[in-house]
Symmetry: D2
């Protein structure tokens, strides 16, 4: 932590800062410049968390030097992690494909979807049973009935199940059906839910919030891990910007940034990021080339009949073609799927 | 709803669209232009919600004409609402002051804060018992113990209590202590929590999400109202932009926009929006001048000792001075407090 | 300037940094922490501008402590400036009203506009002769012909003229007609134009770029002042965010932030910021309450006939009513107009 | 164009709208809904540009159906264009590599850079002679002297020259030295400069503005083409968002979006987008996989000695390695370089 004093801060103000630091058993190092004095803090900074040094007269600003997340931080865990979902690994050397419809609509469409995405190369079946929707009048999901459908469909095809959970109540039910739970963009800072997910021990796919910085995202992962669940995979799915040609702006830079800052695997969802079917394939290829550990793709037996997000869903044929197209890109990136 | 066809869309594609519309008992009106055909839909559009007309070949885009929120919509409720919290009204003609510390730290500071903010003119005591914090290692709040402190302090001073709730569990406890519950920015699209708040019947202060459009914010209010709780007050508290001179960017335009689109009262929180004590007073005055129904201000007996958000808190003296300064602005705006 | 080393940076890397600093005749102060070493630089940092310390192995990041703008900086010019445009002052104690149509369309509408805005209380007549337009097919302005119209109209009414200039060529012509030149949002970082404006000595109204930070905005002012023209007034006119209910998001926090960081006057343009006539009056009041030194308002004799930006223009009657409404707000803010 | 009336708009208001439309020789088509009446306009809408229908009482909003750019629009030019810079084509089937230092510092470094980037596979040498810099005190470029260096270096190595021009004056000089001129992000809406570039007939690389929508970017290209210069190549270089882990947010979705909306080639600049050397290679690969027609990469003989943007520059060795790594990705994308 560094405290920057205002130009011409009085000697007594600097002393007050130094005293506040040393009163916590920490050391203060002074750097006296021409215009500005800087105070560096040495020691366990968490002891200072409750002090508002910024309000001491003469203090200009306070800069944090180290990240607040530790368990998700590559600095303290330099080797990239592989997360096991049952016997299916996510991480280095593999390209994990998660595919399926946005919402679970009935058993039949899940059975068909499972068979189709498995044949194309996916290892996870996705499908929403609890749907966070902007309007209370939009379709909200089949809940437990939906979970039963996706479980049966995945078992029949030999796939793992991933479902979004949106509340403690949904989590309590979902644990009986899913292999991996997804925490969606809108709940990325629903800290109560993160803690519950941390206590549950089921692997978690943590989507980035629409307005979350990468730093906040890794802190959200820290919530889960610090409750005892180290099995976290991150998912970039677009952030909100002024540009409206796509639903959100896919931030592919997040892939190399996460690779540098964290040991956790990171996958990419180009379907939700763009909201446009034609853009899914080029951005899926780009994600693989950027180093993503996997992809989440929306696939629907009949996109024009879908209960939600049809315009961005691929048909079975399109998904099969995409997987074929992705294989050589995955190979170049040193990944198999 | 309007469907815009691509230039040169085939006759049969247009027919498919028209058939899809009429199959739901709705009427389609065609507007054949030089380059583009437009199809207007007449009737109850919710019947079309499950159709993905956008995927019919030849369709370029679909435009929504009417808002999805109804109960929060001024079009269907032209008179501005007054929300009663007990016997304290929020709405036209009044400037409601909510003030207090960011976090409840102990009983003593709540007693002092209550007395001070009451004396200055506030009618609500605020204070966080459940704190949503970016890092799991930051102070998370005193929970029920904190609720007891704020209740006692408010009762002693003759104030109403407003507290943020962050989960179903917190809500179940809080109903026994608070007069109004706050749903914070990070939970604005925690739809499960919105529904619970809707079923609880306690008045709700709904803060705008950091990345929420005004339309999404009003849809969030619709979640609460449509569950049976019409007592919703909105609170603008800054949105996330690229600018970093303030913690967030206070969007004061939201006040006249909400006034035009909704009948619900709207208040402003300049403390969280800016994160800087010096900017609170000018923006508080601006909010009143823009037409806000109230203000939420952070006040702390000793900002430099605060457990959270000290740098943006006013001292008792500063709050008292602010209230004095605001009175003539409130009078100009036709409001008393 | 502060150099933060990576955790566990090698002793030799730290030495390299220290040598790079001392080789420029500057002093390096070391702060050795548990995990991290910090190097403070003391002396004239501009000597280091050409060194890329960041690339020395072991360096994590470099933080700037002082602003790069000096002449626009309140730290070195603590008293708020009053800018004289002829004999008309802009600054403390006054609320300067600039009003008129978006584009100059003909002489008659300028004469009428001048008379009306003068009567209501404006001291500047605005009107665009060179219009920056998104599409090359939109109306681009009357150029010199327009400048003649606005000059005559302003002279007849006893007003100062302010016009946007968009190029060196426009500037060369405009100097013969205008009292103050405006550099628009899209040209805020057209550095060649800023330098020309700096050499011209005519007072400059510098609008904030749509995506400019306040720091970049003050650096743009520094370009003008450092070329010899200290007569710069800033104008907040909305920034681009994800929100689409208003054309841009008016960042009123910029008013107190500029007040704190700079001695230059700052005015507000609620017309361009919102793009909606109904929102102009509430935000004009808010700007005055926030401490703005003036307002720029679009007024048109017949908004529904305007060649550009009609929807946000006030009629003469609306402008007159707005000025009447603003007077007591100005009085509260200690300003006359 | 579609005019949407407010719910319950009076019959006479609708009539006024219809009359305004037919008075211009256009046709109005009415769609009378339950709540809302919609008026479609058929015919050449540019005749309506000067009317502000929005201000007619009862009008809610006006929606544009067709893009304002025509010459840059794929709808009217369905085949992807190849732009010739001398005898060097940019477009389908090729991956054009542009590389070199951010700023031209001296002749020697340009000669070395030219030889190195040519050997690695680049066909263009880049280097800034006119540098747009946030602070007036930062290095501003060698101007004509720099142009001489880059021309000689490129000729010696057999490369084309691309340089940013920032003013009419710079353009007048640069035409004698460069093969392609770059209009930078900060000048994307410097419309006077766009028109000059359009009259010059030298191929133009048009970078996307930091806050420009794709629609605005294509309108900027339209300015150049409509002045007679069809040789425009677009360059995505990151947009400004709230995220600060990278300097800007590279919007790779822009590649497929441009591919769909325009026939112009589009290249990607991952160096300026990220500002971090380690992220350049993964995003360069991603750009190729997304379908980009080329890349612009910063390369410097000694990044730690660079006068500007050193931290994002690759060394010659790193650039050579990147080109080698990119070849199989280019091959997969059907491109040679």
């Amino acid at each position: 932590m560094i405290i920057i004093m205002k130009p011409g801060a009085a000697r007594e103000n600097i002393d007050t800062v130094v005293k506040a630091i040393s009163s916590k058993g920490l050391q203060a190092h002074l750097s006296q410049g021409d215009q500005v004095t800087i105070v560096g803090v040495v020691g366990d900074k968490t002891r200072l968390m409750h002090d508002n040094l910024e309000l001491i007269p003469g203090v200009d600003k306070i800069l944090s030097v180290t990240e607040t997340y530790k368990l998700a931080n590559k600095k303290f865990h330099p080797q990239d992690s592989t997360i096991l979902v049952g016997d299916t690994p996510i991480g280095p050397g593999r390209l994990t494909m998660m595919a399926g419809p946005c919402a679970i609509e009935n058993e039949d469409m899940m059975m068909k979807s499972a068979a189709a995405v498995k044949a194309a190369g996916a290892s996870f079946l996705r499908g929403g049973a609890y749907k966070p929707r902007t309007s209370p009048y939009a379709f909200q999901g089949l809940e437990e009935e939906g979970l039963r459908y996706i479980r049966r469909a995945a078992d029949a095809a030999g796939l793992k199940v991933i479902c979004e959970i949106t509340s403690q109540r949904a989590l309590d039910t979902a644990v009986h059906y899913v292999d991996m739970m997804q925490i969606g963009a809108r709940n990325m800072q629903n800290f109560e839910l993160l803690k519950e997910a941390g206590r549950s021990r089921i692997p978690v796919l943590l989507k980035r919030g629409l307005n979350a910085t990468i730093d906040e995202w890794l802190n959200a992962a820290e919530y889960i891990i610090s409750e005892g669940n180290p099995n976290v995979v991150l998912c970039e799915r677009g952030i909100r910007t002024y540009e409206k040609a796509t639903r959100n702006t896919l931030d592919l830079s997040a892939v190399p940034v996460i690779r540098q800052k964290s040991h956790l695997p990171v996958i990419v969802d180009p379907s939700h990021a763009t909201g446009v079917r034609e853009y899914v394939a080029p951005l899926a290829r780009a994600a693989v080339a950027a180093g993503a550990d996997g992809l989440m793709i929306e696939v629907h037996p009949c996109p024009s009949c879908a209960l939600s997000d049809g315009p961005q869903s691929l048909t079975f044929e399109q998904f099969e073609a995409l997987c074929r197209e992705l294989k050589p890109y995955a190979a170049l990136a040193g990944r198999t799927f």
